[in-house]
Symmetry: D2
Subunit: 80 residues, 4 copies
């Protein structure tokens, strides 16, 4: 091949490489962004489940207290 042809091919390759590397940077930025969103979504979800767990425990104690109230009423009715 002639030196000119090599020069042409080299320039084309250099251009293609530049584009591919630029595409790479874009993809890596998107990947980082998605990873951050996924991580933040999991932290949020963790906090959400923690709040729900507190609510479940609160609901348990309310059901327990209603059951005690029910038993007090039942004893009151037996005694009368």
């Amino acid at each position: 091949e002639s030196a000119n042809e090599f020069k042409f091919q080299k320039d084309a390759l250099t251009q293609k490489l530049k584009e591919t590397e630029s595409r790479n940077q874009t993809l890596e930025a998107q990947l980082n962004d998605l990873e951050l969103r996924l991580e933040s979504s999991q932290l949020e979800r963790e906090a959400y489940r923690k709040s729900l767990r507190s609510l479940l425990e609160l609901l348990d104690s309310k059901i327990f207290e209603l059951t005690e109230l029910r038993d007090t009423l039942a004893k009151l009715m037996e005694g009368s």
Copy 2:
């Protein structure tokens, strides 16, 4: 520059391009995977919230029914 030198540079560029394109494919696969996980996580979350909404409505109706029971008891006590 000599033809040899151009040949060497072209091979080096071709190699570098191949690596960059391979890296690109890896990144795109990771990106697709993450997008699917995020989407599936959002669908799950949507279903979760729908179930919670049903529970909230059920809780509302139970509180309403307890309030009716409370009013019946209050009336019974007024009447006696």
Copy 3:
């Protein structure tokens, strides 16, 4: 004793008997009244207890339904 004296005693006794019989009638009327009030009070109390028993059963069913709701929430949280 003289007939006069007997006559006087007889009149006094007749008067005393009349008063005692009148007092008897008053007491019997009061007794009847109290018995009716006691009976009516017991019927009322019976009705009251019946209403309370219905409320107790209603409370039982509300506690049962809240417990089902609590179990549904617990399962939802385990699954997520």
Copy 4:
């Protein structure tokens, strides 16, 4: 009338008066007994109503706490 006849009437009246007074005592005892039972029944009823009033207040506070729990759940769901 003869003294004998008056004597006979006086004795009959005295006997009748004794019986009526005895009947009076029985009636007064029954009346006292009933009054005590009615009073004790009213005291019991008062204590019963007091206990029921405490239960009603307890039920009010449980319904209030369940409503707070419900509002916390609703806010948690809005925020997510």
